[in-house]
């Protein structure tokens, strides 16, 4: 009988512990907002273009008495092929609760129905959406005079493209960018080393056929890239439009970013180039590496706390709330 009790206890403990690991918030709700009308109001599925996906959600704070507001855009993750702005409601509510007008923006995802969509077309949609987002906020009585752009994974990549490549055409000054695990550039030597020991990357082998990587870069950039372009470096010019790190200069905006050293979804090596570019051009930034984590930043909770503290600190520094 005790044998069955031991077995039952083992199975029950195993399952309960696994469920708790997956469901318990390690921060005890610190970044969760109890959302109601005293915090703000959300307007969903507002249109910014003709495309089916050209929709955004706008979160406006309950306090509508200030003369001007900062706008924070948060772009959703999903590998450029999936995801939705509703998945970031918690983050958008948190930003709104801090006093910002916050917006989650959808973009046309690469799919069988939209085979022409790629990272570049998505970044253009985001660029073209910003005036509509600001106009909608103004219509509701929230005068926007500055903005930040942010996102997770694919959304982080698009946020960085807007911040480093497109900030000059923004209707209001872009003050900062933050996000996690977004691909910042596309170098062959980085992308053949996804998920391997970050301190011992494999060198490019001239005898290996890298057609798969070429196909991936082709799909993401929308420009024809073949494996033979790797030998000459010709491909780099073709991926520049989707490589945020290649647009960084001394005028680039302050940045907070977080990356997992063992990421097997995007290239960790690309984030080192992002850090190097920001350092080289003396751009204020925080580059936080999660040494035990991958794309989910899942194994370094303390560092995730550091990341959120840095985001808060940068928001307070570069996007201070103007109290009436």
């Amino acid at each position: 009988m005790w044998g069955f009790i031991y077995m039952g206890a083992f199975i029950a403990s195993f399952i309960i512990s696994a469920i708790l690991k997956m469901t318990v918030d390690p921060f005890g709700g610190k970044y969760v907002t109890h959302w109601d009308s005293t915090v703000g109001t959300v307007y969903t599925d507002l249109s910014y273009g003709d495309g089916e996906a050209n929709r955004f959600d706008l979160y406006v704070p309950a306090d509508s008495g200030r003369e001007h507001y900062g706008l924070v855009i948060y772009l959703h993750a999903g590998g450029f092929t999936s995801g939705d702005k509703s998945g970031d409601a918690e983050m958008l509510q948190w930003l709104c609760a801090k006093g910002y007008v916050a917006a989650g923006i959808n973009y046309t995802l690469f799919s069988e129905e939209n085979p022409q969509a790629n990272v570049y077309t998505q970044s253009v949609e985001i660029r073209d959406s910003i005036p509509s987002v600001i106009a909608e906020a103004e219509k509701l009585g929230y005068h926007i005079d500055e903005m930040a752009v942010a996102g997770g994974s694919a959304g982080h990549a698009l946020a960085m493209l807007y911040a480093y490549r497109d900030a000059e055409v923004s209707p209001v000054p872009v003050k900062m960018v933050f996000g996690a695990v977004g691909p910042s550039c596309f170098y062959l030597e980085d992308w053949i080393n996804m998920g391997v020991d970050p301190d011992h990357p494999q060198p490019v082998d001239p005898d290996t056929d890298y057609s798969g990587v070429a196909g991936l870069f082709y799909a993401m950039s929308g420009k024809e890239i073949t494996a033979d372009m790797f030998a000459t470096g010709e491909y780099l010019e073709r991926v520049k439009d989707i490589s945020a790190a290649m647009w960084i200069d001394e005028n680039s905006v302050p940045t907070v970013c977080a990356y997992g050293a063992w990421d097997r979804v995007q290239a960790f090596g690309a984030s080192r180039r992002l850090d190097a570019a920001l350092t080289e051009h003396h751009v204020p930034h925080e580059y936080i590496v999660f040494p035990h984590s991958g794309h989910g930043l899942q194994n370094d909770n303390k560092l995730y706390g550091v990341y959120m503290e840095k985001v808060t600190e940068y928001l307070e520094t570069y996007m201070p709330i103007d109290c009436p």
Partner: protein, 44 residues
């Protein structure tokens, strides 16, 4: 230590080991999908 005390002690040890393995199993699956190390960081 009585036989019952010994059985309860074994039961507690079994539950602790199972709880650790349950969390490690989730971590291993997540690492498989996303990348990451099995040890280090927030171990549990």
């Amino acid at each position: 230590m009585t036989l019952t005390q010994r059985r309860v002690l074994i039961l507690v040890i079994v539950m602790i080991v199972a709880a650790v393995l349950g969390r490690l199993a989730v971590r291993a699956v997540m690492n498989l999908l996303l990348g990451g190390t099995l040890l280090g960081g927030n171990f549990l």
